[in-house]
Each structure stands twice: as structure tokens, then as C-alpha cells.
Symmetry: C2
Subunit: 214 residues, 2 copies
């Protein structure tokens, strides 16, 4: 391996803005890519790309995400606060450009579904719209949120009320094989990745070395 380059916090703070943004967003690693669907109180649909969705709990099921309320995320956050509901939709390779394009600064009266050419779908009377062709989607109810004192970003915790998974991805033990539906990952703000399975490892025990199951 080549040498490690060291940056102190002072080095990071002194960097040119775009360099620092790229570095600090990409170094932490690969993330999932999601489209968050919401509706305003007046019924206007909104769709926005996010890469900060995380698992909070399975029983009951909760998902978290990070929102920057001073960015293009603000329409999403206003709609979640106003209605209490939102959808999280996985992005696949086929629609990565449309998903990325939702990050343009469209006015609040524009539906990004229409602007970028992704079909919306209403399901089970849920107020927030789903992305029709997404292979994995969740319908969530806002449960709680926390403001990060350090910089004002908001951690949004949602309770999963509805969930949809393409059958070709769903395995016998509940595992969702995302490679079967061409789910993608991203690094930083603009780099997208395919994923390819290395395998699954067994539950770790102190006295055993793990080896690939399949």
C-alpha cells in the first residue's frame, strides 16, 4: 500500500471549500442512495435524493436519516413536519441520473417526479408518494427528531408503517439481496457505485474463525 497522508483538523479547516467537501463526504465510505417522497400540506409532491439513511431498530422497525434544513433538503423537511409522513425509495442503476437530478434547486411548486421523469405512485392511501419502479420502499411516520448542536443538522427518526420489496430480491431468511435488483451505492456527493457480493459470514463466536457461508 502507498503512504498514509495525514490531515489535522486545522489542515481540514484551511482547505479550499470544494476540496474539503469532497474529502469529508467521501472518506467515510460507501452509502446507500435513496429518494425521499413527500407531499406538502397543499398536496404538492416533492422528491429528493438522500444518502444518509440508517438502521435504528427492527422491532419495532425504525429508520433514521440526516437532513440539512438550509439546503435543498428544506422542502422535504417542511413537508415531513407539516404532514408527518414520508417514503424512502431505493435507487437502482437504471434511474441513477434521474435520482441525482432531483438535487437541482427546483422551486417548491415543481414536482421533481415530473421534472426528472420518475413515476409517482399512491399506495394504500398513504399520503406520501412512492417512486413507482423502486425495488425497495418504506412508508414512514415521523417519530421524533433531534437537532445536532454542532451544526444544526437534523436527525429524523421514522417508524416504518409500510414496506415493499421486489420478490426477486427477497431471500428465504428475510435477507434482501440488493444485487438482484441492481441497487447502487454512492461515495461522497456525486460518485455512484455498483455492488457485487463477496458473501455472507456466520454469526461470530469467540472460539471460531468465520468463513463464507455461500
Amino acid at each position: 500500500m502507498s503512504d498514509l497522508k495525514y490531515f489535522s483538523v486545522a489542515d481540514i479547516l484551511a482547505m479550499e471549500k470544494q476540496y474539503r467537501t469532497n474529502l469529508i463526504n467521501s472518506a467515510p465510505g460507501v452509502k446507500g442512495v435513496y429518494l425521499i417522497g413527500t407531499k406538502s400540506g397543499a398536496g404538492q409532491m416533492n422528491l429528493a435524493i438522500f444518502n444518509s439513511v440508517f438502521h435504528v431498530g427492527a422491532n419495532p422497525p425504525y429508520l433514521g436519516m440526516i437532513i440539512r434544513p438550509d439546503s435543498v433538503d428544506r422542502h422535504t423537511w417542511q413537508n415531513i413536519l407539516n404532514t408527518g409522513f414520508y417514503t424512502i425509495n431505493q435507487v437502482s442503476e437504471a434511474v441513477v441520473k434521474q435520482a441525482h437530478q432531483t438535487s437541482a434547486r427546483y422551486e417548491s411548486e415543481v414536482s421533481e417526479f415530473e421534472a426528472v421523469g420518475l413515476a409517482a405512485e399512491e399506495r394504500n392511501g398513504f399520503i406520501a408518494p412512492y417512486v413507482k419502479d423502486s425495488a425497495v420502499a418504506f412508508g414512514l411516520k415521523l417519530a421524533e427528531f433531534h437537532r445536532i448542536e454542532a451544526n444544526g443538522t437534523i436527525i429524523v427518526i421514522g417508524e416504518v408503517q409500510h414496506m415493499y420489496v421486489q420478490e426477486q430480491a427477497l431471500q428465504e431468511d428475510g435477507f434482501v439481496a440488493l444485487e438482484n435488483v441492481n441497487a447502487i451505492g454512492c461515495v461522497g456527493l456525486d460518485a455512484y457505485y455498483k455492488i457485487a457480493p463477496l458473501g455472507r459470514l456466520p454469526y461470530a463466536k469467540k472460539d471460531k474463525n468465520p468463513d463464507w457461508i455461500n
Copy 2:
């Protein structure tokens, strides 16, 4: 595409435990894989695998992560609370089995570095140990934490004080090309993935359709 399978929250709550755990952990998508290095007040080293690290801000640089204090994460959390410092180390394909093995329930007086065979390294007098061969690593100071009311998990926010990146991954614009150092992703609790770049997309503008830069 095949059909969408629907699960209501009632369906999810009624599932067999392991099926629900697999489903709710894997469906949200690919995540990065990290080893968190800490030291107890008495100087005992600890190393634990995490997959819930997220970007909070670049200026100043902050990273967040989720800790379940009733799980094997508890030693990590006690050490962070006691000392105020921890490291986040990226996991590459070469050490995925050792990284996974840190999730076995070792006693608190066991160093997982030794138990799984990963070399620890002290750098710049920082109290928390780094994983010597990790291609990207951060040294963090605990900044704040939030308890999620829904289920008691803890959101830990850390200020980046030190950062190390393999030079072969670092691009001219600050982007860290993680594929150059065989960084991996994971889905759910036990499935590991390679990542392969699709490309980068330009900053999205309302009147333009994005296309791959490289």
C-alpha cells in the same frame, strides 16, 4: 421486474425474530464497514465492527454513528464516555473476516485487536488506537450524543481531529476513490460487498440533464 411484496408494520411485528432482523437490516441498502478503536480508562484496547457511520458536516468536520448500548457495542460506548475519544477505521476486503470476528462477545479484558489478529497503532499521541493497515482512518473527539426515545439507541456525534488517507485513493479534488484501496460495503448484519464505480455526475442544475463525467 417481479412483483412487489407488501409488509405492513403488523406483518413485520409478527415475523420470526431472525427473519425480521435480516429484512429490516438489509432492505435499507448498502452501508460502509468500519472498525471503532477505543481504550478503557485502565488502558485496555477495544475494537468493534460498526456499519452505521454517517456524514454530519464538513466545516467543521463531524461524523455520526449509532450505538446499541445493550449489545456488544457496550464496551465501545463505555470507553468513549470514559475517555472522550475514538477512532473510525475503514475496512478493506483483505481484513473482512477479522473485522466481522470482532463482533463475537469477547470479555472486556480481551483486546479484539489481538483476538482477531489486527495490528493496533498509536498515532500523534492520540489516546484511542488505530487499525494499522486501514486505508482511511479518523481520530475523533466525542462532541455530543442523543438518545433515541423510540428504542434507547444512541446517536454519537464526533468531531474529526485527525484524518489519514492512503495516497493512492486521494484524488486531485479531494475525492477519496475507495475502490483504489479495496474498501467494501455491507448489507444487513452479515453480507459483504465489493464496490465498482459507475462514475461521477456533475452538480445538478435545473435546465440540464446530467451525464457521467468520467
